[in-house]
């Protein structure tokens, strides 16, 4: 369980090998191997500054790694920017940057991938189609929303997170990456978002989850990867581990 090196198998939706990233003299992480299996929830845990978020950002094209290879769907795929990753089928749910308050639920769900009807050179929004499809997207994930015409500003934190996840899933993404999806939520809202993540997996979408919450990780994920001080130090099946073991792995007390 100590040294983690896997050759990316055909089961992996996203994998990396020998990945390193430095910011000037500061080492974010070195020689990281990681893989997320198709159709599973894969968690990445670690203490603050362990390099989790930077790793995820490298995997989805926000940062370009200094060294190493990234494989998506079995193919070497270095993403130059988040748009390329999005086009390949990776959607990211950003911590606080997911929604526009002043736009409606439907507008948010279709932001930057609006449905248009073309009239010669002019493309006009098909708002009716977007509203109808927005309702379908929400109901497919059993998200309760009084109206898709509601401005996002008035929604609770949990509802907002549900919409960001719905938005990510609704694009037909193969993989949804979430960075601390329940960090700012209450108990009930956290439970709702966790149920939503399970439904997402049940529909065959692969999920990568970055979290601080070891209980949540054990409840939600299939495979857990542990980072410590810029290294990938362990990987365990969630069903075969305990909270104590995870604490030990994260702190290095094992």
């Amino acid at each position: 369980m100590s040294a983690v090196h896997h050759i990316p198998s055909s089961e992996a939706i996203l994998a990396c090998e020998g990945l390193s990233k430095h910011f000037g003299g500061i080492r974010a992480f070195t020689d990281v191997a990681f893989q997320a299996r198709r159709g599973e929830v894969t968690a990445v845990i670690g203490d603050n500054g362990a390099g989790k978020s930077t790793l995820i950002r490298c995997l989805v094209g926000v940062h370009v790694p200094d060294d190493g290879e990234i494989f998506f769907d079995g193919q070497p795929k270095p993403f130059g920017n988040p748009d390329e990753a999005r086009k390949a089928g990776i959607e990211t749910v950003h911590q606080n940057l997911a929604l526009i308050d002043e736009l409606t639920v439907a507008q948010n769900l279709f932001l930057n991938r609006e449905i248009v009807r073309r009239f010669g050179p002019i493309a006009l929004l098909d708002r009716k189609a977007m509203r109808t499809q927005a309702r379908a997207m929400l109901s497919r994930l059993s998200i309760n929303m009084p109206s898709v015409n509601q401005r996002v500003r008035r929604l609770s934190g949990g509802q907002r997170q549900a919409i960001s996840i719905c938005r990510a899933a609704g694009s037909g993404a193969k993989l949804v990456v979430m960075d601390e999806p329940t960090a700012a939520l209450g108990v009930q809202e956290t439970a709702n978002v966790e149920a939503l993540i399970r439904r997402l997996r049940d529909q065959g979408v692969s999920v990568i989850l970055v979290s601080h919450n070891f209980d949540q990780v054990r409840r939600l994920s299939d495979q857990i990867w542990v980072m410590r001080a810029g290294k990938m130090v362990a990987t365990v099946r969630a069903s075969e581990t305990s909270g104590n073991e995870l604490v030990a792995l994260v702190t290095g007390a094992a």
Binding site: P82, D83, R86, H94, L97, A98, L99, I100, D101, E102, L103, T104, Q107, L111, N112, E114, V116, I122, A123, L124, L125, R127, K128, P146, S147, N149, Q150, R151, R154
Partner: protein, 334 residues
């Protein structure tokens, strides 16, 4: 258009489910209703007050003159709306009108024909807007500073080009534009109506419009979702400059000459109309009809005060009071 407008003032009820619209009385008690409809309420109020105080105000001839006088401000307010929707402000708008007018006059005087003159005027003001957008986004300078700078810069440029002298523009095309009628309205009114329709469609029925509001609402989030917010901002300032060019043509047509004078009340009134129209100065929330009616209201105010023989000195005072009052009501906007 049967589909509801999510961002138009009409959607003050957006918080309620579409199935259960609040009753009229509840609507009338909601301060945000009055905030969203400030320009309409103000216009109706002014029409009633002036109509009673001076019946001539409601005469067809006066109303036609009022609309004609409002056309330039309506066009400018639309330009300002696009910029304010991105949470910016264009202080160079009136100066751009002056520059456009001078270029129009000089090109026409040089004998290149009125159409080329109009085209170059619009191109020049659009270029000013583009430059504003470029400096704000690529140069990372606050909008206020950039447009204040271009305000001064193009004022100087206008004075240098014109030598400080007005240029007469004797063109039958512009004369017909200024005085001609089609149906009940003069041509400038039709230009303003066309601008309102095109801008409304651009804001509510195109991807650009949604991206504009997203950029104004939360630039960073919009960026994270893959919207090229810098391009959107540059486009908004360019549209503002384009509107200044159209306004310059209407202005030269109206007064028959290109003058190297900035009509500062045009700038202030364009911002005032936007505020009256319920457009959030913090960006992300806008309508076109609101500012257009706001512009109409400000023009009606000046027109009515003139008919009541109130000294012109009181007009800026009245405009100022109304704008501050509108901003105060706007605090209740949700």
């Amino acid at each position: 258009m049967s589909t509801p407008e999510q961002n138009a003032p009409a959607r003050v009820t957006a918080g309620a489910a579409e199935e259960s619209r609040p009753s009229l009385s509840a609507l009338l008690l909601d301060p945000s209703f009055w905030a969203d409809w400030a320009s309409v309420v103000g216009l109706v109020g002014l029409v009633i007050v002036f109509g009673i105080a001076q019946p001539v105000f409601l005469s067809v001839a006066n109303l036609q003159a009022l609309l004609l006088a409002a056309a330039i401000l309506v066009v400018l307010s639309i330009g300002q709306t696009f910029v304010v929707a991105t949470s910016g402000i264009d202080l160079s708008l009136a100066a751009a009108v002056m520059l456009g007018a001078i270029i129009l006059g000089l090109v026409n005087a040089a004998g290149y024909g009125i159409f080329l003159a109009c085209l170059l005027a619009v191109l020049a003001t659009s270029a000013v807007g583009f430059l504003n957008g470029l400096l704000i986004t690529a140069g990372r300078i606050p909008d206020f500073v950039v447009t204040l700078g271009t305000l001064s810069g193009i004022t100087g440029l206008g004075l240098i080009l014109s030598g400080g002298e007005p240029t007469m523009v004797g063109s039958t095309f512009l004369l017909r534009l200024a005085s001609g009628h089609f149906g009940p309205f003069g041509y400038p009114v039709w230009v303003a109506i066309a601008a309102v329709i095109v801008a409304h469609i651009a804001l509510y029925h195109t991807r650009f419009g949604v991206h504009l509001l997203a950029t104004g609402g939360q630039t960073e989030s919009a960026n994270a979702l893959g919207i090229r917010t810098n391009r959107v901002k540059i486009a908004a300032y360019t549209i503002s400059g384009f509107c200044a060019g159209i306004a310059a043509i209407l202005l030269v047509a109206r007064i028959g000459s290109a003058e190297p004078l900035i009509n500062t009340s045009l700038l202030l009134n364009s911002v005032a109309a936007v505020v009256l129209g319920g457009v959030s100065l913090f960006g992300g929330r806008a309508s076109i009809l609101g500012p257009a009616i706001g512009a109409l209201m400000l023009t009606a105010l000046v027109n009515g005060l003139t008919l009541l023989s109130v000294s012109a000195f009181y007009q800026p005072l009245a405009v100022g009071a109304i704008v501050v009052l509108a901003a105060l009501i706007m605090r209740y906007q949700k």
